[in-house]
């Protein structure tokens, strides 16, 4: 059974300066990891604030249906899951502020930390990840004009039209099934001969009448003047020279080839691995005292909502332990 430790007061911490920190714990990012941090931290009596530049919920807010989060036998809408977590955090008195940590700068090295003008005794980075680009000709130029990284956001523009989904993981296959309900035709393009996605998802999408697979194919370029008009593919095997090309006439291309961590703003401030993920120990501590990371943003094996909330709970409890130790120091 968890016990809440006595609430910390600024006067308890050694060397408390004239300007005291407004918060015990500042969380950067209100996705599932960040929201879990705030729930645990607030219940433990820490003065907690979460900074979010956009919409709370993180990638949950753009996932159509979450089927594998434990506790929901019929699955749950991503938006719904995000809203419930936010509601729960607010219920425990967590303060939500709109701020962009990346734009406003942050100071993590001192005994008090400052992020977007907010001072805190500890910080949890939970900024998650963003969709990875393919780097194809036409991809950037046609963003919002038929190139999309979010089927639930932009699917409505393709009712009765033709689209391609590029990718081979769970997201690509799930969103292809979602788009198949709206579009006249969905091509699923993947460079390997088999999907990485879960077997049940693959079975489901293979059975859809308006879905055509293009396995063993890589995208070459996206064509179109005002908006997307076509996607050019070539065979993955056999290299570029002489490989057969296919030109698919389409109205939209949805790219699901993975994610990259949102850590540009942390370069030089905490230790990151080669791919840019935050390095932590098992208790979510980073290389900087009283700075933690939780969720997709950190080095880890499995990136899911369920592992994000687990990280969040651990980070909150570690922060509480470290702040208590500081007071007794």
């Amino acid at each position: 059974m968890e016990e809440a430790l006595p609430k910390m007061s600024p006067a308890d911490s050694p060397g408390a300066a004239a300007a005291t920190a407004a918060w015990d714990l500042l969380v950067v990012g209100a996705g599932p990891a960040g929201l879990a941090v705030t729930i645990y931290a607030a219940r433990a009596g820490l003065r907690t604030c979460v900074l979010e530049r956009g919409v709370p919920g993180g990638q949950m807010a753009t996932a159509d249906w979450v089927e594998n989060y434990p506790g929901f036998p019929e699955g749950v809408a991503g938006v719904e899951l995000g809203l419930k977590m936010e509601e729960q955090a607010r219920r425990f008195g967590v303060t939500f502020l709109t701020a962009d940590a990346g734009a406003t700068g942050l100071e993590l090295a001192g005994s008090d930390k400052t992020v977007a003008g907010q001072r805190a005794r500890a910080v949890v980075v939970a900024t998650g990840s963003r969709p990875r680009r393919l780097g194809l000709p036409g991809e950037d130029r046609l963003a919002g004009r038929g190139v999309s990284y979010c089927a639930t956001c932009d699917g409505a523009f393709f009712r009765g039209k033709r689209v391609a989904v590029i990718g081979g993981g769970d997201s690509a296959v799930t969103e292809a099934a979602f788009l198949a309900k709206l579009a006249a035709k969905v091509f699923v393009v993947h460079r390997r001969d088999g999907f990485r996605a879960a077997a049940t998802l693959v079975e489901r999408v293979r059975a859809l009448k308006n879905v055509e697979l293009r396995l063993g194919r890589v995208p070459v370029s996206i064509e179109g003047s005002g908006g997307v008009e076509a996607l050019v593919l070539r065979e993955a095997a056999g290299g570029e020279a002489g490989a057969r090309e296919e030109r698919l006439e389409l109205d939209g291309v949805f790219i699901y080839v993975g994610t990259d961590p949102e850590t540009g703003f942390l370069k030089g401030k905490v230790d990151l691995d080669k791919a840019g993920y935050v390095i932590t120990d098992q208790e979510m501590r980073t290389s900087v005292p009283r700075v933690y990371a939780a969720g997709d943003v950190r080095v880890k094996g499995l990136r899911q909502v369920v592992t994000a909330v687990a990280d969040g709970a651990v980070a909150a409890m570690t922060a509480e332990k470290d702040l208590a130790a500081l007071a007794q120091g």
């Binding site: 530049r53 956009g54 962009d100 734009a103 919002g144 979010c150």
Partner: protein
Amino acid sequence: MTEEGKAHEVSDANFDKEVLKSATPVLVDFWASWCKPCQKMAPILEAVAQDYAGRLTVAKLDVEDSPGTAQRYDVRGIPTLILFKGGQPGERVSEYMPKEELERWLDAAL
């Protein structure tokens, strides 16, 4: 008559008059009811309408009500912001932006 300093609604019906024939540059916000980031941008755009009053007009177009205009300008993803000058579509961006970022983008584009 459009109130200065406030974002106003435009549609397929009045797009030509309100946007293409406007002497002042117009920032058109393409949005829809299902788009949460669009909702989050709404107060940001109201603030921009105020901050840039006189230099810029902010117009909002619901792509569900006005699919013709959305299609005409190849808007296939939202939020999308297009800056119209002298009746011509110019700089555009198709992602959610916090206020500071949007104002930096506008200052460069205007």
